[in-house]
Amino acid sequence: MKHTRSLLLFATALSTAVAAFAAEMSVGFIYVGPKDDYGYNQSQSEGCAGIQKLPWLKATEEASVPETTAAQETMRNMIELEGASLIFPTSFGYFDPHILKVAKQYPKVQFLHCGGLYDATKHPANVGSYFGYIDEAVYVAGIVAGHTTKSGKLGFIAAKPIPQVLRNINAYLLGARSVNPAATVQVVFTGDWSVPVKEAESATSLINQGVDVLTCHVDSPKVIIETAERRGVYVTGYHVNGAKLAPKGYLTGAEWNWTKVYTDYAEAVKAGKTLAAGTIPHLVRGGLKEGFVSISPYGPAVSAAAKKDAEAAKAGLIEGSLVIFKGPLKDNTGKEILPAGKAYLQQDLALESMGWLVDGVIGGTKG
């Protein structure tokens, strides 16, 4: 009896060892919230599931890790216990000081952070950052929204007035106005990334004011999409495909496609490339063209004309003939942002410090 048991234990240990040996590379993913929230964390977790299909790779995930020293502990565990050689701490607030601190202790491990915070003059060489131009997908969703709205009023529920959020709001309006010059976007800032009661309250208030297409930039759009469906208005999604939550009213949505990004990184590391040697670039960005972002399949309420315009814009963004932020462009206080003939290309740093809302957006950036 005793023998059988120890034999069994030995066999289990052996098979684990073999499995660990067969998987050459270990990758760690850290999320700030639950990984099936129909939001940002789910998009990251889908990216992890995507690269787990690579036979030579083993991925470990840890969800709901707060932006505190707990994140450092998780990173160390992944390196020491799982032997991770590549780590993706996905939340914005993990970067400073948590990633910077752990990265200094483990110079052989590659740390890649989602955002655009890397600065070669200040940060360790084994740290890099990547981000997607999701405003391109939001622009296309705005076109569909502009086509579908009857009242001409679109609603945008946003967490905080930071550049990434403002850029999406502006892209949504510019997309809508490209097909419906009278469209406006009404913004409600909830003040935080995940406040479900306030998000539901914001959706209800906007719908009460005649808004008939809603979208958002919060951690989890689930409550907003469900509220829109219950009140019988349309919605365009964010982060991941939310069509299941609103089978009638879901038009399309801006989605992340991290699988592509993570596969590229994993293959580079497998090939022996490193950030420190400069064989992996420290800053990686991409939009529709690079496959970093995509749009959800169109819902049943999207007209043929809307689909045609949306596809045309998508093609234009991919080949570079369409620029989202181009003059003449005024902000909603009347100040000129860009004169006619000038434009901000996607790589332009001015877009990453955006502090304005374009004319047609009803909302304030000051709080």
Binding site: V188, V197, E199, A200, E201, I207, K248
Partner: protein, 309 residues
């Protein structure tokens, strides 16, 4: 689909009114539960955890059984269970009820997050609404007058508790135990038993508040669903001076303040939203500052509250 006509400033009024009904319900049920508990002379700070466990269990049971009412019963039962643990803890000599309550808060929320992981994604059947707006042609008003059955239950419970505390043997016993446990003991009452029942029942009522959050409004299970409402409801009991009917009014004020910031922004008032977003918390602080005094106990405060007896 239904593009509503814009209703301008009426939207703010309607938003606050509807927010009072929808957003006030968790405050109402938690504060009634806390009121009952405190009337017996003990405090339960763990109701935030009870609220989360109630929300999670209601959502999970509704999802698996397909019947949201079973979810409501589950929330009530989970609340009672957590209440029983707290009641057993504080019935021991030298156990501080404030400290035990904080431990229960951490335990309840941690357990809810742990058990609730797999229920974040699925959509559970929701409680049916009581629609009182059929007479109006405004879709906004119809939507605002879709009452939560748990709000109706809570409002009824507020009057029932008020009557019970004043006119029934059972209610007077709870008050006697809360005001003067030594005297109650001398009269032959079992202080421990009465407190046990009051804490368990109070926690069960608070659990119902969780069912409202996950099965009615906003109608989803996420870890951020309660965002401190269970704690604010404890402050609200003090504001309401331990009177159940006042808990109803106070909850509606708190629920209404949550709706101010979104409603103002929706009509284009774009400045000051951080301030308005903080309104419920500011209100809590103001209530605490006004009602707090080192020199006297509050009128209406149960005599044994905060003492070791």
């Amino acid at each position: 689909m239904n593009a509503s006509e814009s209703i301008g400033w009426w939207g703010v009024v309607l938003g606050i009114f509807a927010g009072a009904l929808r957003g006030g319900t968790p405050f109402l049920l938690v504060s009634l539960g806390e009121c009952l508990t405190e009337k017996s002379g003990k405090i339960n700070l763990g109701l935030e955890g009870t609220l989360l466990m109630g929300a999670m269990s209601a959502y999970a049971v509704s999802y698996h059984s397909g019947n949201p009412w079973l979810g409501v019963i589950a929330a009530f039962g989970t609340g009672a269970g957590l209440g029983a643990i707290h009641a057993l803890l504080v019935s021991r000599p030298k156990v501080n009820d404030v400290a035990a309550g904080i431990a229960m808060l951490i335990f309840g929320s941690g357990l809810a997050f742990y058990l609730g992981k797999s229920y974040i994604r699925p959509s559970a059947p929701q409680l049916p609404a009581l629609s009182l707006g059929g007479w109006s042609e405004l879709p906004q008003l119809q939507a605002a007058l879709k009452l939560s059955p748990l709000f109706v239950l809570g409002a009824g419970l507020a009057f029932l508790l008020s009557w019970a505390f004043n006119c029934t043997r059972w209610g007077l016993r709870v008050r006697a135990v809360g005001d003067a446990p030594v005297a109650a003991l001398a009269l032959g009452m079992s202080v421990k038993k009465v407190r046990f029942v009051a804490i368990v029942l109070g926690s069960a009522i608070a659990g119902l508040g969780g069912a409202h959050l996950s099965l009615f409004y906003p109608g989803a299970w996420t870890e951020a669903i309660s965002s401190g409402q269970g704690l604010m409801a404890v402050a609200l009991v003090i504001f309401a001076r331990w009177r159940p009917v006042h808990c109803l009014y106070a909850s509606m004020i708190f629920g209404g303040t949550q709706a101010i910031a979104p409603a103002l922004q929706a009509i284009g008032i774009t400045s000051g939203y951080y301030l308005w977003n903080a309104a419920p918390y500011v209100l809590t602080l103001v209530v605490m500052v006004i009602t707090c005094s080192p020199k006297r106990t509050l009128a209406g405060s149960p005599g044994a509250l905060g003492t070791s007896s």
